[in-house]
């Protein structure tokens, strides 16, 4: 094996010198590798940690905030939800199928490591232009990888989002979220244990795959990235399924003092994390680690990112029972080391000490960089772009084009490849509403889940866009009748070493933090993925929000489909005219500019309260928020899902019609209701200070939009449904 230099491992010169200072000598190759992976952005958050401190992380509902394998929130009745989102962008760019599959595997392990039964997966994906052949390959590979892995595990993939934009051409984003359900008293933490406790390694054998995966994830993608294919791990979902069942049995019987999955940086990271919690030390003998390849050196064993492995610290005297359970599931558990009290991470190969570093230096001692962000020149230029200079497109044609845009079109091609019904809890399935809803067997409550981020908006205005991502997540939950509880996020950005990118990070995190505070949805877990760029530049800053919430009464859950002929269609929120950053400008004018719509957090908060209260009261027959494609696309989607037309008359007050129809300004939703409930909904709106306007009625076989009697749009529902339903499939043929 050709040895890498510290620079190739991703360390800076000053960091290398710091290591020499810590050890009082030159590190050997193994030690250098250990420092490099632990101090990578992926494991050490060295560029993002100071910014992450801005996030609100506390609240009465929070049982566990950031710092553990996943966040935990209380959902009453002695139960809690455990959840987190994580990126697998770089591996997926190189090897889409395995990259995405192992992304699912990794996040699922984070959840059951905490003792929770995984109950749902979601994913947030970004790709380049769907006309590009390589993009099609990436897209179909990623979707198949997510599907095959999650389907085999028997965890339903219930939601998520997919966007296509040239900004992601060479650097797709694959963010996977998993949600678990646990009884509060059974939550397991990564804490290790008393001196002398054995460390057991269980699951797959260790191979050479994934060495330096964490380092690879912390640098830009380049022409040589393809050579890093060995850094991509290979997944075995069957092994993971056995691990889930076996580990949950251990938890039920209260046999473990600590449990940690092996993810980024493999054994090195899991051991360091497990032992650092109480300032203890560890010894590991690599010759005891079961391997699937011969001739592996300690460096390779310690840094391997082979999948489907867990580290277990047994409760005293329970090794025997633990081995019995693993044996039942056909898994081998091997003792590979033990906890010590000298604060050192010592690696042996048989009797020979091959490496020794202070554990604290790996975790707490990771360097932290506070950088200076600089506002990029594009920001003001694009913000001041004058939309009034653009011609106005025909409303009907524009709407048809929008419905055919892969960003708005049905994602059926994607979610039919995911088993979204296994576990028999999916009460709202993908595509039917703004959020997924799961029942909790034996209870009246329901769990609602969504992921959101409009990268274009964040690019044009990171602060506003960051707020929008949080608000859209919360609003999507409210649209099904759920009260948002807390969020996890995956912060996908370019290189933090570029001051313009760092500025995007700073501003987006500031905006997200403010929104999360006002909406009362603390950040309980997350992941940072930086260096998402190629020679052509950085991706749109894409801080994806995964939001979880609770419905008091699942029988009141609300979907987006219009229901009955004659129902009233009502807009909640102000009529808005800001077109900046809209899909309309992108699709009809080829422009991604303009001032991002304003967002009033108090207004958003009130809208969410209003939606939850009227849905809980059973006053609403359909609900869909206004986002991509604006008011017109929202109406069209409710119509298509309900297989019924609508007739609305809008008062444009002389404003350009495309602005009213296609503005993606937030804090708005379109509901339909029975006429008899209008007064009650009006009352509730007045109480919350939310503007309400009657737009028209459900019915007929056409989508009709009028401007005070003048017909602007008249589309047959059947035709629109075909356009919208088959757009992505057509691209993929």
């Amino acid at each position: 094996m050709k040895e890498m230099s510290y620079k190739e491992m991703g360390l800076l010169e000053q960091e290398y010198e710091q290591i020499i200072e810590i050890l009082g000598r030159q590190p050997n190759y193994l030690e250098l590798g250990i420092f490099a992976v632990m101090w990578s952005e992926h494991c050490g958050y060295k560029n993002s940690r100071p910014l992450l401190r801005n996030f609100p992380t506390e609240g009465p509902q929070v049982i566990q905030g950031p710092g553990e394998n996943a966040g935990v929130v209380d959902i009453g009745d002695g139960q809690a939800l455990v959840f987190k989102i994580e990126s697998h962008n770089h591996p997926s760019a190189i090897e889409p199928y395995q990259g995405a599959a192992t992304g699912v595997g990794g996040i699922v392990r984070d959840i059951f490591t905490m003792g929770a039964r995984p109950i749902a997966s979601l994913n947030s994906l970004r790709f380049g232009n769907l006309d590009d052949e390589r993009v099609k390959q990436l897209f179909s590979g990623v979707v198949a990888g997510i599907g095959d892995y999650g389907n085999c595990l028997g965890i339903p993939t219930v939601g998520g989002e997919v966007y296509f934009n040239p900004a992601y051409q060479g650097n797709p984003l694959v963010n996977a979220m998993c949600v678990g359900l646990v009884n509060k008293e059974e939550i397991a933490y990564a804490t290790a244990s008393e001196t002398g406790s054995p460390l057991m390694l269980v699951g797959a054998r260790t191979g050479r795959d994934g060495i330096h995966g964490a380092t690879f994830a912390s640098e830009e993608l380049s022409e040589t990235s393809q050579e890093k294919r060995p850094s991509v791990q290979v997944g075995d979902p069957f092994m993971e399924k056995l691990l889930i069942e076996a580990c949950l049995e251990l938890i039920k019987e209260d046999l473990v003092a600590g449990m940690q999955d092996l993810g980024a940086a493999g054994l090195t990271s899991s051991i360091a994390e497990a032992a650092s919690k109480k300032g203890r030390g560890v010894i590991v003998d690599v010759s005891w680690v079961p391997r699937r390849e011969t001739g592996m050196i300690p460096y390779e064993i310690m840094l391997s990112e082979s999948q489907e492995r867990m580290l277990i610290v047994p409760r005293e005297g329970q090794e025997g029972r633990i081995s019995e359970i693993f044996d039942k599931w056909g898994l081998d558990a091997t003792v590979i080391g033990e906890v010590t009290d000298d604060g050192m991470f010592k690696v042996f190969e048989g009797d020979v000490l091959v490496g020794a570093v202070p554990i604290e230096a790996l975790t707490e001692g990771c360097p932290v960089y506070v950088r200076e962000g600089i506002e990029p020149p594009y920001y003001r230029e694009y913000r001041d772009f004058n939309i009034d200079d653009l011609p106005e497109c025909d409303a009907g044609e524009a709407l048809s084009k929008l419905l055919a845009s892969p960003n708005i079109a049905s994602k059926k091609w994607v979610y039919t490849q995911y088993d979204h019904q296994v576990m028999t809890n999916s009460s709202i399935v993908p595509g039917d509403a703004d959020a997924a809803v799961l029942r909790v067997k034996g209870h009246q409550k329901g769990v609602a889940l969504a992921t959101d981020c409009n990268g274009r908006m964040v690019y044009l205005d990171p602060y506003q866009g960051g707020m929008m991502a949080v608000c859209e997540g919360a609003r999507n939950l409210a649209c099904v009748g759920a009260r948002p509880l807390a969020l996890t996020n995956c912060l996908n950005f370019g290189s933090p070493e570029n001051p313009h990118i760092y500025w995007q990070m700073q501003e987006a995190i500031k905006g997200m933090s403010k929104a999360a505070k006002v909406l009362g949805t603390p950040v309980v877990s997350g992941n940072v993925s930086l260096y998402n760029e190629t020679a052509d530049g950085a991706i749109f800053p894409t801080p994806v929000v995964g939001m979880v919430g609770i419905l008091k009464d699942i029988d009141q859950r609300c979907q987006m489909a219009f229901q009955d002929e004659g129902d009233l269609i009502v807009l909640l929120g102000r009529p808005r005219e800001e077109l900046g950053g809209s899909e309309y400008l992108f699709v009809c004018h080829g422009i991604e500019k303009g001032a991002v719509p304003e967002l009033d957090l108090a207004e958003e908060h009130n809208l969410i309260e209003l939606l939850v209260s009227i849905i809980e009261a059973g006053l609403v027959k359909s609900c869909h928020d206004i986002s991509d494609g604006g008011l017109a696309a929202t109406l069209a989607e409710s119509s298509i899902k309900g297989s019924t037309g609508f007739n609305v008359d809008l008062d444009f007050k002389g404003i350009r019609r495309d602005k009213i129809l296609f503005s993606e300004a937030p804090s708005r939703a379109v509901i339909s209701l029975d006429e008899k409930d209008l007064a009650a909904v009006k009352n509730a709106s007045v109480q919350q200070g939310i503007e309400i306007s009657l737009l028209g009625r459900v019915g007929g076989t056409s989508m009709i939009i009028n401007d005070q009697g003048i017909e602007l749009v008249n589309l047959a529902v059947q035709d629109a449904a075909k356009t919208w339903g088959e757009a992505i499939e057509c691209h993929m043929k």
Binding site: D148, N151, F238, K241, Q417, D419, H420, V422
Partner: protein, 233 residues
């Protein structure tokens, strides 16, 4: 009346079947670990969906060598009710309890969606609470549900009325358009000649409660219970 749900390593619809039998049908139910070697005391067996042994090699091909399988085969030979759902169906094929084999879906993709099935017989242990030519709506979720057999076998399946469910449209029309996976003759579920073994790709346990969007699957479990009550063991 006691149901047994056989659990292979990699089964993942075991808990769903258990839930329906216990909480929806209000019957006794127990898991049977694949390393057991008896099914004594059970009135009906469910081979659930999932990916037994990861479905590596071929779907169901390893599960059929599990220690429990001789007892399942013996139970079936003695006329016991056995239903194999999805991966369970694939295992029944591999074990030779039902004729034919599964190919990959014609789209070469995993498919999860609701489909319509036409009921071809209502005088069997699995369909006596349904009506002939009625259409039910039920989810599928599989990558290899493309049923195949040779011409003679197909003819005998037809002649002996062993094709219990066929994929169809909402109005019952059986055409290739409504065939989700390329199955021969739109076959979604078949029984053995004696009629006590059913294999079906769709998941009745996923549509036995209104909260999941429909309860057509309920009637398949209800048929089994009804038959056990009326006809006995």
């Amino acid at each position: 009346m006691k149901f047994g749900v056989v659990v292979f390593p990699g089964s993942n619809c075991d808990a769903d079947c258990y839930h329906v039998v216990k909480e929806v049908m209000n019957q006794q139910v127990e898991y049977i670990w694949h390393k057991e070697n008896t099914v004594d005391g059970f009135d009906a067996l469910i081979l659930p969906g999932g990916f037994s042994y990861g479905d590596y090699l071929r779907t169901g091909s390893i599960a059929r060598f599990s220690p429990i399988m001789p007892s399942v085969i013996d139970f079936a030979d003695r006329g016991g009710l056995v239903i194999g759902i999805c991966n369970g169906f694939q295992i029944l094929l591999e074990a030779g309890l039902l004729p034919g084999a599964m190919l990959r879906n014609s789209s070469l993709k995993f498919i999860c969606k609701s489909v319509y099935l036409k009921i071809n017989r209502a005088d069997t242990p699995f369909t006596n609470r349904l009506k002939v030519d009625h259409v039910i709506r039920i989810p599928i979720a599989h990558g290899e549900g493309n049923y195949f057999c040779d011409e003679n076998t197909l003819q005998s399946l037809k002649d002996n009325g062993q094709i219990l469910f066929s994929y169809c449209g909402a109005d019952g029309e059986e055409s290739p358009e409504f065939n989700p996976n390329g199955s021969l003759a739109n076959i979604a579920g078949i029984s053995n000649l004696k009629g006590n073994i059913l294999g079906m790709m769709p998941h009745p346990e996923r549509c036995s409660e209104e909260i999941l969007g429909g309860r057509d699957g309920f009637y398949i479990f209800d048929s089994m219970i009804n038959w056990l009550k009326e006809v006995g063991k």
